[in-house]
Homo-oligomer: 178 residues x 2
Amino acid sequence: MKKKKSSKIKYIAYVASSIDGRISKGSLISPDWTSNEDWNFFQKSLAKMNAVVVGHNTYKVSKNHLKWRNSIVLSSKANHEKRASAVIFVNPQKTDLKKFIERKKYKKVAILGGGQVYDFCLRNKMLDELFLTIEPYVFTTGVPMFSGALFQKYKFSLQSIKRLNTKGTILLRYKNES
Amino acid sequence: MKKKKSSKIKYIAYVASSIDGRISKGSLISPDWTSNEDWNFFQKSLAKMNAVVVGHNTYKVSKNHLKWRNSIVLSSKANHEKRASAVIFVNPQKTDLKKFIERKKYKKVAILGGGQVYDFCLRNKMLDELFLTIEPYVFTTGVPMFSGALFQKYKFSLQSIKRLNTKGTILLRYKNES
């Protein structure tokens, strides 16, 4: 059987976490502990993207930054596809997200979390690269980077390491090899 | 009031985790995904330590490696202090662990996990340095690095970054600044 040629869309996840892999205190709380250097990197990166994918909670707490972007908000409550300005609400149980993005002709899509969305995209082969900023804190609890149900060993390869500032924020770039 | 001079004992935590901050699949499963390079670094480091502190589950899965070391096994089931060869079982609810280690005259103590022990030591100012090896995998679930109950912002500073091999295992060294 001929294998369908893989789509050329590039899915790039951006994550900011603590040393212990936590991305926020709670799913409706916007992180106030990320560095200016990470913010600058993040904004510069987003400028090159055609669209972003976020979960409903992440959208709620970052609405002001996202409402002018092509934003795809994943929500199990969205009844199909519901549009508000540049923002569209999609229920991935009812809409094939990959095909939806293909139809939109987006080429570079940023995956911005939270943990359920990172997990969904990784499981569905919509996570080609991962930019991980590690801020120099330990939180001991909070929302984990990926909220998976099944333990799996997704293999990545490290592309680069960069120190973003003197206090010890680092930026790791990984390629998904799984 | 005069502040008690802080003890000179150095507590150093060693952690191996996935990119997403998971230290194992389950608390009774020994990680089979850590690199040889991390193992070599870890063994070399342990050789310089006077004692190790581990949780009961971690001890169970790494008994063969620990039984000849001065091992302090934290266990809420230990009725007080129970000795077996170089290994001693301590219930930190009944024994003041810090004082116990002082009495032993240990100067360098390795904290080896799991997540509850890392959290206990961090909360009780028994975690001065943190060596974190990040292996290039994402697991999406599993045991988190720290199993805390309360979200806190423990500040660390990055001392060094080292690539341990070509596949992308990195070793981060942090100092606790909190």
